[in-house]
Amino acid sequence: MTDDLDDLRRALKAAPVPDGEAKARAMALAMENFDRLQGSTEASRSSGNRTNAAPLNGVRRMFHYLTSRPALAATTSVAALVIGVAVILPVADLRIGQPTIVDAPEATPVAKKAEPAVAPAPAQEPEAVVVEAPVAEDVARAAGAAQPGAEADPIVAADALAQSEESDIASSAVVAEPVPEALAEEPMAEREAAPAAPAEALADTEMRLRAEAPLDGTLGYVTVPDVTFAPVENTEAYANEAPNPVKVTAEEPVSTFSIDVDTASYAVVRSSLTGGYLPTPDQVRIEEMVNYFPYAYAVPEGDQAFASTISVMPTPWNPGTRLVTIGIQGALPAVAERPPLNLVFLIDTSGSMEDANKLPLLKQSLSLMLSELRPEDQVAIVTYAGSAGEVLPPTAAGDRAAILASLDNLMAGGSTAGAEGLELAYQVAERMKADGEVTRILLATDGDFNVGVSDPEGLEAYVAKKRETGTYLSVLGFGRGNLDDAVMQSLAQNGNGTAAYIDTLNEARKVLVDQLTGALFPIADDVKIQIEWNPSQVAEYRLIGYETRALRREDFNNDSVDAGEIGAGTQVTAIYEVTAPGSDALLNDPLRYGAAPVEGTAGELGFLRLRWKAPGKDQSTLVETPITGTEAATAETRFAAAIAGFGQLLQGSVYVRDWGWDQAITLAVQNRGEDPFGYRIEAVNLMRLAQSLSQ
């Protein structure tokens, strides 16, 4: 709608007129700084008259900060310098090395009042020495972009310097020559020989520039990295299996799987598509896409924990088959009666979390959520990065100020010791626990566990063991490029929690505010679904999605086998595509010697068995429902089918045949329903985007 853009343009053009007084102030300050800079240039000029040295001044400055003069003076070439810095660094402050003095007489800076500043020297680099920090700053910043916190880490900075040296110096050997000399001189000029007054002015200017440091980076050749897009090289890892194949009912009549309430895959798909590229097939987990959306299924009656809704409809992408949709709706206990909640935020503050869509978004997401908590709830914050720490001891949620303050103080930096942080979080959770309360750890990370026990299986086993203590673990994924979806998935699955991926503040609101109750209060643990298909009605079947959730048939009745949890008021949907015997759509030839069906069940498509445990209980409950094949489809299940189709199109599935984006979009649009939060229309837009991207 160009109208909107025009409106926005008009509104933006109406910038307020700058205040004359403010302008005068700013101009005065600018001129003052300009003059200071000129003055200091003159003072420093006395230390030698080198043209074209400017690009290196910053480098020199950097060295000056990094190491002591004698150590530098002892070196003879730039290359050696760089290495020298890296090696000598740890002892630099000890002032080891003989105090060699180079060019001492020339370094007396006193009164070479130099040429007047007026000297017009266009096209010529300014010769400022002392106050010029930008290059070094930029270099540090460039390094910081890759590894924030680098500014505080001289070694990294020196590394970056070593790199920048190539680009800055390699082009001109002449420039490289004077450096060692300059390095020796400059500290002289500044420390020893400079007369009091200029020195003071210098220090002053320097302080100012230091204070302005945040402003001082990223000019010219260094640009701020764009955080929106996944870098070319990324280290993401995804958990997925090959799509479920078609099974022959006569050979394998029973299908067993654990429910999955994660939604991470949908958000990852969305972030890929809006970033302008198609997700790879392993990023697509269809059940997570389908389960991303709320569905209006029948609510459970009485004190039932959940209700199941079955519907049967023709398959949109294959006229010869039918879709059987199983929808499970969790009960929503009166919100007022919810038990007090103990939350441990386990926050990844490693360097990789610096991006705007990581730590800052995370802070904001959590503060959004805070307003949903009750005064009797408790919050603690544990961070991990390099070393794990308890940033906020257990605090009543009513003390918003304290919680917000410690959230606000979180800074990204260091590497990730996920395992240690996890241990500490479990310890803190243990302290907060009380009877009748729900305790949950919310792990917020970009999925990077690169220090300590990085072996995902070791972590998994640890989390699985801790699960027995009754503490739930949910994982919130942030950012792209580093996302270790596989670790997130396995932690959440083993920790009896959910994994969600948060790419926007809207998503944070959906996960943490709108669905707070569901996300944080389980109503049924270890929910397993088993369907036995009737070979006389269903010759072949295929479960769409849930590849990572398959269970062995015998595990269904084994209560010690872990499965997914359902939160209060949430929905879970599973979709089967089934083919009737004798249909043209059959992919396998029928068996000659099939078993005779049980009397009286001839018309049933199959039999649904659900097993679940009340939270914290060991014994499971079994619920059985026949699937008659007459259950009508609704807009809800048709929309679910559209999303399943969307996922399969993204996977390049062979089962959707010539069914395409247009049909998927039409199906989704027609069954959009009420869609109060706009989630469904967003999916339609994503389909459109995927359609254009796949052309």
């Binding site: 709608m1 909107d4 933006l12 403010a22 302008k23 300009f34 200071r36 800079l37 000129q38 503060s367």
Partner: protein
Amino acid sequence: MLMDTPDEMLATAAAAGDRTAFATLVGRHYARIHGLAWRLTGARDQAEDLTQDICAALPSKLRNWRGEAKFTTWLYRVVVNAAHDLRRRQATRAKASQGWGDWEIARQDEIAVQAEAADWLAQAMSALSPELRDTVALVLGEEMTQAEAGVVLGVSEGTIAWRMSEVKKRLRAKAREDAK
């Protein structure tokens, strides 16, 4: 005479220590810096502070002036980067969008008639991510081409095109919401 000198010449002279050239340059572009700062922050007082910070840092920044780009492009980049630093210092986006809220209130006090349009702008801008806001400020506010905006923001032209379509999408969604 100085009034007719191109920006690039002035910048080079200023970098070499020409005081008058520097003064002319800052005077000439103050309004431009202020305008963009306002578009990027959405708050008048923040824009003023940011502009002052930029002016104060310009002398040292000019040392990096290589004359490789148009001076205004270079300057825009300085402003955008300064705004990014400001945002980073503000730490959370909450505060960034609050900025629009504060600004809106002040604005309503000032000009009652324009209040409605301003309200719309504040809402529209706070519905956008910082990246999108930057893009909108440059493409719509400063009327740059997508290629120029790409140079300033350090992303490709295609990225800017995509961001603008994203902006349209968000605005459309907002229009739908408003209609409800």
